[in-house]
Symmetry: C2
Subunit: 185 residues, 2 copies
Amino acid sequence: MYTEVASRRYRVLHPRPVYVIIVEAEGKVNAMAASWVSPVSEEPERIALALDKESYTRELLAKTEYFTVNVVNERHVELVWCVGTRSGRETDKISECGVRLAPAEKIPSKRLGDALGWIEARVHRVIDDIAEDVDLIIADVVAAYARSDAYNPRYGWELAKAKILLHASGRAFTTPGRLIIAKRG
Amino acid sequence: MYTEVASRRYRVLHPRPVYVIIVEAEGKVNAMAASWVSPVSEEPERIALALDKESYTRELLAKTEYFTVNVVNERHVELVWCVGTRSGRETDKISECGVRLAPAEKIPSKRLGDALGWIEARVHRVIDDIAEDVDLIIADVVAAYARSDAYNPRYGWELAKAKILLHASGRAFTTPGRLIIAKRG
């Protein structure tokens, strides 16, 4: 009934939301796709982001403490694929992938202009020794924004309107389907 | 068009998969619900789990290095709500919530008997100072298993069969809807 998963075992933990991370430093802006992102604490509000040490985003993030985590929906799938499969060191992904930028509200950074929502973050700490090629970025949530027509302050995203993009594997993405309400106790 | 999110800003990063974490130590077994879990590296394969320092799971995890991360589907929503809203210190959640246990394959621990899949993990490191009340557990993936009829070794979960449970907020859960394939480049 069960098979052992022999490789890419992280896929067992997918699908998960895929975000567009935007960082700006010294006049350069880069965007990447990331789904290895998670809230980690509520007080203070912090998130963690696993980042390839060799990535261009990491290089820029050594020159600024600020970045945005942009929540996207099914309409952004080609943009996500584009920024997720190129290196910003070799191409200008902002123009090549058609990334619309807008200024962040409370940090000196850019955000995705037509995102569903975004978090403005400031690096709190970098944990550089959990794996040879990964830095785990722990960041403070400075501010967060969501599209007024798709986010309810009491309940969070209105799933049917938000259609948040989740990454399964490779080119396969999905988005939330039906709402399920827990009844018990 | 956008509203600032003033509280519980982590909700902007939901819905995300919700897992059942099972830990066994000194003859006691506990189950909890967690969605602040993420893969963090591929080489070696490691995951991160944000855990309340005061939780019973944390207490047991001080007595063993092993735990399982169980992937659940829409049929488990009441079980997830049950184990997510009680403390194992006060009640035996395994019996009260109807958690079917089975032995893990490669670690001395239990897993959810009717999970969609699970990861067997061993604590690599505890980062205890990212927030006053949270320990970030970094763990090695020892093994992973998935239901043969719902997981494709090449592509991962077959979403329509797996119906993996995602947590939105409060009692609201969801599950993946349609498959979206990126075409570009």
